[in-house]
């Protein structure tokens, strides 16, 4: 193994290991602050710059809170239940973190230093990068189950079982909505997918892409156990689910893993639908693409936080019903729509396309605006009707309410 390879591997991975945990700390602060504002509170506002206690405190809106939390977590007692499976209890948080960290490598973020290393080290240049992404994200399920089982706590076990059922179910709409993008680009390569959306050719600006993005985002919420799909850790029902028996740094690791998974899945959504690092000014200043990528990730995470502050939780059977009876048929229908639209746009030109170029862009360049408008209206109409119908079908029958008043 050459020294160069080792250097390149380090250059590719170490910044990821530094940047994202830092962002995680910032995100916890952001989440607490945003939730507090949603709930008429102030949120963390005491901890700021250390050692400035005397002679005027710089609290900086409580930005020092994540650091204080981290230190607190480090020094807390590590409690393992007596009957717990000690090995698995220890391994679970680690296993939760590893896949989350691993999939960060598949995000095509153009860090300035990434151009100087050889291609074989860039994970997002793999031909099957998107498949790898889903494969490794799926491992998160195992960590959750491991934690739930190893704790020997009935609430944890319930949480673990819920987590498996939920993640397995929501992976399917997640993958199926990603398939649309793969169809439109003709590649599984993350970098190629991002490049195909350069400028304003984001896939969210196509009707089927928009629908797929919405499905993807909902499924991503469920994959990362965010509200309203936070059943595995439903506080009001099963205490904290698989977290129940975790304390101290193991808990912090779980927490870290969960947020990194949020970054990863948001990053994938950005890659697939939101144009990767594309944005105004990227052509002139290439390093702006990194900023744009992170800004888009944070926009998605802000939506997640917003949802968490506003929505109640679903019930477990409704959750499964939603995945299988609503999202799955809708995403399959969406694939059909995307396929027929591509065929329609191609009009027999499909064989003559350049295989090395993104399919959609080639088709769109010569497309009639009227046809495009028709596709928009048609696709959204079909999807809307289908969603409505599915909603009517899966909705529980309830009797109408009537409230009377007695004088």
């Amino acid at each position: 193994m050459s020294l160069e390879l080792i250097r390149d591997i380090l250059v590719a991975t170490v910044p990821l290991l530094l940047i994202f945990p830092t962002l995680f700390a910032f995100t916890t602060w952001l989440e607490r602050k945003a939730l507090a504002r949603i709930q008429n509170r102030i949120g963390p506002n005491k901890v700021g710059v250390p050692l400035t206690r005397y002679g005027g405190r710089f609290s900086l809106f409580g930005l020092g809170q994540p650091m204080a939390d981290g230190i607190k977590m480090l020094f807390k007692e590590n409690i393992v239940p007596r009957d717990a499976d000690r090995l698995f209890h220890l391994l679970a948080p680690i296993l939760a973190l590893i896949p989350a960290m691993l999939v960060l490598c598949f995000l095509p973020i153009d860090f300035p230093w990434i151009n100087n290393i050889q291609d074989s080290v860039k994970a997002f240049m793999l031909d099957g990068a998107v498949i790898f992404f889903f494969a490794i994200t799926g491992l998160n399920t195992l960590a959750v189950f491991m934690a739930g089982w190893a704790s020997r706590n009935k609430y944890s076990l319930l949480g673990g079982m819920r987590a498996i059922a939920q993640m397995v179910s929501y992976e399917i709409p997640l993958v199926l909505s990603a398939v649309i993008v793969v169809m439109m680009v003709g590649s599984l390569n993350a970098a190629e997918i991002a490049n195909a959306q350069a400028g304003w050719n984001w896939f969210i600006f196509t009707p089927w892409g928009l629908a797929a993005f919405i499905i993807f985002f909902i499924a991503a919420l469920a994959e990362t156990n965010r509200s309203p799909f936070d059943l595995p850790e439903a506080e009001s029902e099963i205490i904290a689910g698989y977290f129940t028996e975790y304390s101290g740094f193991k808990f912090a690791l779980f927490f870290l893993g969960e947020y990194i998974a949020m970054f990863a899945i948001s990053g994938l959504a950005v890659t697939l639908f939101l144009g990767g690092g594309a944005g105004p000014g990227v052509a002139a200043l290439p390093w702006l693409s990194v900023i744009w990528f992170l800004v888009k990730i944070f926009a998605l995470i802000a939506v997640m936080i917003w949802l968490r502050g506003t929505l109640p939780r679903l019930r477990v059977d409704q959750l499964m019903g939603f995945a299988w009876k609503f999202l799955l048929p809708l995403s399959i229908l969406n694939i059909f729509i995307a396929g027929s639209a591509l065929h329609l746009l191609a009009g027999g030109r499909l064989a003559g396309l350049d295989e090395k170029q993104p399919i959609l862009r080639q088709l769109m360049e010569g497309a009639n605006p009227l046809v495009v408008a028709g596709l928009w209206i048609g696709a959204l109409l079909i999807l809307y009707v289908a969603a409505n119908g599915l909603n009517q079908l899966s909705r529980a029958k309830v009797r109408p309410r009537e409230y009377k008043y007695a004088e």
Binding site: M1, L5, D85, F88, L126, D127, G128, I131, F132, F134, A135, I136, G138, L139, T141, L142, F145, M146, W149, M161, I164, V168, E171, L188
Partner: protein, 173 residues
């Protein structure tokens, strides 16, 4: 050289994982050891530049088969078996014979070509090549397989629905 080192490490992990999976009486531990074995196998595929197969190995064997096993174990009465029982069972002799026979059969092609193995052109395992192969010569096979799996899925759903008793509505009387 580096491939060699990686190969040996991954092989060691795979063999160890397989051994632990067989040995452990605790079913959950066994399943997780099996998953380690699968993961190492996936690494070996990567080493052979078969990245698609490596991804599918993780996706299918760990993500699906492993989870399925866990589900099955969760449904059984005793999740954790006792670890203390001895490793060998009564049929150990015949088991050994069968294992040896399988090993020999697997080695047979290599033995036949000994000592000058025939070097053939390895197929290109890239995703693109696989896609083309699946869409052109093997499209019929793929469709039939897909149909079969769909039928199996629908069958499973029907079977599961048939098991459920009609729900009792209203007040318990």
């Amino acid at each position: 050289m580096s491939e060699q080192i990686a190969f040996w490490i991954l092989s060691a992990i795979a063999v160890l994982g397989a051994l632990v999976a067989v040995r452990k009486r605790n079913l959950i531990h066994g399943v997780f050891a099996l998953m380690i074995f699968f993961a190492a196998l996936s690494g070996l595929f990567l080493l052979l530049l078969a990245e698609f197969i490596a991804a599918v190995q993780i996706l299918v064997y760990i993500g699906a088969v492993g989870i399925l096993l866990l589900f099955a174990i969760m449904l059984t009465e005793r999740v954790a078996g006792d670890d203390g029982r001895r490793m060998t069972s009564r049929g150990w002799f015949w088991g050994l014979v069968v294992a040896a026979a399988v090993f020999v059969v697997l080695l047979l092609p290599a033995i036949q070509q000994w000592p000058t193995p025939e070097v053939t052109q390895a197929p290109d395992p890239s995703v693109e090549e696989l896609g083309h192969k699946l869409m052109n010569p093997y499209v019929m096979t793929l469709e039939v397989l897909a149909l079969l799996l769909t039928a199996a899925l629908i069958g499973a759903v029907t079977a599961a629905q048939g098991m459920r008793k009609p729900k009792e509505e209203g007040s318990p009387e």
